[in-house]
Amino acid sequence: MISDLDAQKTAKALILTLDGEEVAFEPGETIYEVAERHRREIPTLCYDERLEAFGACRLCIVEVEGIRNPVASCTTKAAEGMIVKTKTDTIEKHRKTLLELVASENRSVDVNQLSGYASQELKILVDRYDARTGRFAGKKSGTSNTKDKNPFILRDYDNCISCYRCVRVCAEREGDYAINVMNRGFNTQIITEFNNDLRDSECTFCGQCVQTCPTGALGDRKALRDSDTEGEIRKTRTICPYCGVGCSVDMLSKGDKIVGVQPAMDGPANEGALCIKGQFAFDFIQNADRLKKPMIRREDGELHECEWEEALDFAAAGFAKVRDKFGRHSVYGIASGRAPHEAAYTMQKYIRATYGTNYIDNCSRA
């Protein structure tokens, strides 16, 4: 049986024709959003689903019956009864030409995958459309900023295609407005206020501009240190270890080496955002200072490395001795607010089950 509510929904359903197929859409959706839901794989370069649609790259153009020129699907709202074609020969030819033009402005479309989350977008499209023809070789836009020596963000604007995703993510998502666009056309340049280094701007080095750049013009300088390290890049989904927000990240590794971090666009706490710590402060993990073996304090009063068995026996014997001498209320446990649940759980269980007390706390009081 159809309920009243269902009947209303059916009555109000908005329909358009997508490549000959009738599909429903919600009020306010763009043609691009409807087409993506139906897996049309419309190419884009200036699009990032977290940002306001911009309509600059023109790759997402589609034909709409009754409109003479193709329209940008990312900025055109779907309308009742629209007849849309996403992949005609003409459209595909336009797209290839656009990609040839874009590629012609850059020093290279092949950039290292470690550059950033979206860094392969241009390369993938250029290959998909077989657009390495060199037809438009000549004038370039954007000049790499080689004077900004910050250790995090490569500013290789020779590979900039003026999609403004960096400028938009900084403004719309971060609210920092650290960078903007100077000049237009071939003279376009992404700069900070007064063209200073990023350090002297409102930039917080959250790395969002790097991760949304579709060409690797902005690159993750820390990850790129491992460009030549052997091994495939592996991504492991985990959670940032700093504050309590709990941002989802993909940790990048090659072999046994951690080489970088990228934000998880589907992380529920962060939805693709990170800060400088989560983005760039990961290499403490494999720092030379890490403790590698247990240590015990010997007769000379100094800590010395030893084997696990000896250290564990020594630790347990020490607690047994204290308990036997001073009673069960003489031992106290402090769990970490940094280590995972399993650490805190076993610590409290150790105290409660061994001593029968609640002499347990964590570092939340300081």
């Binding site: 995090f152 609210g175 917080t204 080095f205 820390k222 592996r234 985990t238 959670i239 270890p241 700093y242 504050c243 309590g244 927000v245 709990g246 941002c247 992380g267 529920p268 706490a269 962060n270 800060c275 710590k277 402060a281 290499d283 403490f284 494999q286 200072d289 890490r290 403790l291 073996k293 247990p294 015990i296 800590l303 696990w308 564990l312 630790a315 047994a320 204290v322 308990r323 003489s330 031992v331 106290y332 402090i334 769990a335 970490s336 607010g337 940094r338 280590a339 995972p340 399993e342 805190a344 076993t346 269980k349 089950a353 029968g356 609640n358 347990i360 706390d361 939340s364 009081r365 300081a366």
Partner: protein, 525 residues
Amino acid sequence: MSNPLADMEKPDVIFAIGTNMTECHPVAATRLKRALTNGAKMIVADPRKTRLAKMAHLHLPIRVGSDVALLLAMAHVIQREGLIDASFIEARTAGGDEFLEHIKRFTPEWASEICEVPAADIEKAGLIYGQGNPSAIYYTLGITEHICGVDNVQSLCNLALMTGNLGIEGGGINPMRGQNNIQGAGDCGAVPNNFPGFQACDDPASVEKFSRLYQTEIEPKRGITKVTALDLCGKGIHGMIIDGENTVVTDPDKNHCEHALKSLDHLVVIDIFLTETAQLADVVFPATAWGETDGVQTNTERRVQRLRAAVPPVGEAKPDWWIVSEIAKRMGTPGFDYESAKEIFNELCELSPIYAGLDWDRIEDSEYQWPVPDKNHPGTPRLHEGEFKNGRGKFTVVGYRDPAEVISKDFPLWLTTGRRLEAYHTRTQTGRSAGIEYLLSHESLEVHPDDAKSLGLTHGGMAKMASARGEIEIEVKVTDMSPKGTVFTSFSFANVPVNILTGSGYDPVTQTAELKVCPVRVTAV
């Protein structure tokens, strides 16, 4: 947080107090910035002109430690202007009459004297918060690290209760947790008053339950806090095990703390580096770090999420749980034959009602926020919807108290401490990450230009800063980020051990240290 992070984009009015969110929780702050873009109004109460304060419609640079006075006067204005939610108070709260009578005395003019901000601004803050629909409160350690930390929190609860801003989308009371798994440490029962899942240590049924599960008789009363334990070191406490905390640098009154740990007969430290605290230990165990450890952590919105190992551990490092279990086994304690983090997490879920609907496999996609009472439950993004866990939301009658120490002729400036964006805690991690130094190479003391002038301090010059407990040297940064009469620094750099100075007092209930207020004297070197 009573409300999910996603709600931070939805308030009509944001009241941020004691939180330097753009530096300490930058990703959460991006949501507030979007709320502002969408037209939300923001009140920021913070002595310092933080980035958040600069974005606010109203910034109240209150004197450190005067929060209760501000909040009482805001409540006064809300009542006087008829902005209370009478039906919410009637239906869902207790103690409202007494509270509403209590606040009649506390006018903005009264609070203005204590908070050192104009009465008109306090009036305005009350009006804006009271008129918001909804209004949301965000706070951090600027509220809790005071001798009146509990009073501060309860004052915020009073505001939310009297205006009905609890249990609704875009509202609530939202403490931002400062450490990745400080929420989880509490969830797991690593506190002296609760077993795992917040089952009280003085509740006979819970004591019986855990005594049975852990095969030993657990005493039916709360344990002492870490603060008390440190005070008792060598005088009752003789053995201690510390996991992943650089106690001597993060805790107040560094000299006292160091002395305490040195007076133990047996100190075991588990960490990833040989921290200042580990250097005092009798045994140091190398733990696996982030990226090397499988496990679980809970974020500030109670979201239970999986940590996954990406690479093998450095050296012979082992997971913390394995180390603790091996010690327990050697002491003959039963129940530590764990072979994986999964086994331990599933045990936690089985005996914690708030985690009852969870297990290792169900949290794969980070979709649950506790409480999740059973396997069919979708989780609880928003607390207090429809009803409070304990029946009614209780108003608390609180009064203003001065900080443990107040400024005097000898110590005429207020010192307040905090974090900086680029550094985390004692820099054991960020200090060992390449590049951070480019942005933050050393510590400095933020001093208002007028104070710098009257004290003869120069930007980039050195100063001596002393409190009743000690003295440190620090570089001066002249900036109007600090209000006149108040100086600021962080506790990140070991060569500027600011916690030699702090430690004037503790909240009597939580024993949280008053790290946010410390009278000092600053002199040019």
